[in-house]
């Protein structure tokens, strides 16, 4: 006989684990299926987990027990040319106090810790198991096919929380086409570089337990759409890069080579000096936000987290884990409500969409939905970093010649780089995206 569950969650990342935890706590029979040897084994991210009110409600004061690296008290945004850089350095001592605005994490530790919470609540974690397809009865999804003996499992509802590639949402016919996704996805690569914690604290000018998140724009991606980052962990740095997949293709730039050359930039070289590589990794990241979201529900199925492209990315912020946790939470709540009515039809499960619309998840993704067009504007990675660095050079360089006043300096720095017309256009675009 094929085993039947109230719900099957595919993927034990932040989205799937949250959904499983919520449903298990409501006494439902839940399977949480993960293809990795353990939750987190397949997962990588930049490294800052921003405060999640949802997680704090599920696990009060989670930061006291979660495997956290450092509290981020400084956010630096650096615009770079090959030789120079201009940084905006923001520090807030409140960020170093509970509930902590952002903390660095390593996913192999965090995801494992978090999935154990779902297990403690009664969910059945099934690791080392790939789900290959959904099982249908007509239109309705009634279970999954796992790649193993007796791998057919039935459930009232399947939650696809299987991450950015979501082969499952694709099989269920909910995703946008590959052609569309090709233009709204980033390829990422990251290194874990070990350094003694005292060296990190001296070099990055931070206290024990506190840390810095630096994001880089400009020459680091050789002017194509994307950004680089360095985040501080306890005794390692997370250094990496996210670049638009289609831009790599068009400009014949290799993501692996970009990461190597980034480490050679004078502003970066001294930060990573003497560090040893502990791990290298790669992953995809949804960058299209609201416009690229699939259909979020169908008969007997819901899609959550990266599988639903719910990443908040504006160039200045990159948040996915807190969005994944919240969407997993609302997916779990929607299934609980469906179970109370014993109705798992698309109409009943559409409650999920409603819950998301009333929360920050769809509100934020909607209000910033124009950010993706702004991010595709090449001038943000070429002209503007260059302009800022030239402006600073013109201001600080002393060469015995008479100086210009501010406006003159700006005009001089812009000369031959950008027209007033483009500047006005980009200003409008940024206004539409962010203000």
């Amino acid at each position: 006989m094929t085993e039947k569950f109230d719900a099957i969650v595919v993927g034990a990342g932040p989205a799937g684990t949250t959904a499983a935890l919520v449903m298990a706590r409501a006494g439902m029979k839940v399977a949480l299926i993960e293809r990795g040897a353990y939750p987190g084994a397949k997962n990588m991210f930049g490294g800052v987990f921003y405060y999640s009110e949802v997680l704090n409600q599920l696990i009060p004061e989670f930061w006291k027990e979660a495997p956290i690296e450092r509290h981020i008290v400084r956010r630096v945004t650096t615009f770079m040319t090959p030789q120079a850089s201009v940084s905006m350095d923001y520090e807030n001592s409140n960020f170093g106090k509970p509930p902590y605005n952002g903390v660095t994490l390593l996913r192999s530790r965090f995801d494992r810790w978090y999935a154990q919470k779902a297990v403690d609540a009664g969910a059945l974690l099934v690791p080392e198991t790939v789900v290959d397809d959904v099982i249908r009865d007509g239109q309705r999804v009634i279970g999954i096919k796992a790649r193993r003996d007796q791998g057919d499992l039935l459930a009232d509802v399947v939650i696809a929380a299987d991450g950015v590639n979501s082969l499952l949402a694709e099989k269920a016919g909910l995703k946008k086409s590959k052609e569309l996704r090709r233009h709204s996805i980033s390829v990422t690569a990251k290194e874990i570089l070990s350094l003694p914690s005292e060296t990190i604290e001296e070099r990055f000018n931070c206290a024990a337990d506190e840390g810095v998140a630096i994001d880089f724009l400009g020459a680091c991606t050789q002017g194509i759409q994307g950004a680089a980052f360095i985040y501080t962990n306890k005794s390692s740095l997370s250094l990496g890069m996210a670049t638009d997949l289609n831009s790599l293709r068009e400009h014949h730039i290799s993501i692996a080579d970009l990461v190597e050359s980034f480490k050679e930039h004078p502003s970066v070289k001294r930060l990573v000096k003497g560090a040893t590589l502990k791990e290298y990794s790669g992953h995809l990241m949804p960058e299209g936000g609201y416009k690229m979201m699939p259909k979020l529900y169908g008969d007997g199925i819901l899609v959550a987290g990266d599988a639903a492209a719910m990443v908040f990315y504006t160039g200045l912020s990159l948040e996915g884990v807190n969005f994944a946790i919240a969407s997993g939470f609302y997916a779990g709540e929607a299934v609980k409500a469906a179970k109370a009515k014993s109705d798992f039809s698309a109409a009943s499960l559409s409650h999920y969409q409603k819950l998301l619309e009333d929360s920050f998840v769809l509100k934020d993704l909607k209000s910033f939905r124009s950010a993706s067009s702004m991010l595709a504007n090449k001038r943000f990675y070429t002209v503007y970093p260059d302009f800022l660095c030239t402006m600073m050079e013109n201001m600080f360089k002393v060469d015995g010649k008479p100086r210009k006043r501010m406006w003159g300096l700006m005009r001089q720095s812009m000369k031959g780089k950008i027209s007033m017309m483009d500047l006005a256009k980009d200003g409008m675009q940024a206004r539409k995206a962010l203000l």
């Binding site: 996913r107 082969l167 996805i185 390692s236 997949l245 730039i253 791990e279 990794s281």
Partner: protein, 90 residues
């Protein structure tokens, strides 16, 4: 540091069954060779006009699957459960 040295720092439990199959004959005549640029571990290589592909070092990101437009050239799936890349940090 070259990519081969970086690969040594990644933990793998290599499956005996390839999870990605590439039609290398078709690749040789592909003009664009998009896969060369998007693969973070440079599993796709072009040497003396010939394409090669090594699935053993794959970190299962899915970039080549999305990047290659040539229909059935790349047959892409995840390795069996528990096999493949196993991040120690992430």
């Amino acid at each position: 540091m070259n990519i081969e040295d970086k690969l040594f720092q990644i933990r793998f439990n290599v499956d005996t069954i390839p999870h990605i199959k590439v039609d290398l004959k078709a690749c040789d005549s592909c003009q664009e060779k998009w896969c060369l640029y998007v693969c973070p571990v440079q599993n796709y290589k072009l040497e003396e006009g010939k394409m090669s592909f090594a699935w053993q070092g794959c970190v299962e990101c899915g970039a080549c699957r999305i990047a290659c437009e040539k229909g059935q050239v790349v047959e892409w799936n995840y390795p069996r459960g528990g096999y493949g890349v196993c991040f120690r940090y992430g």
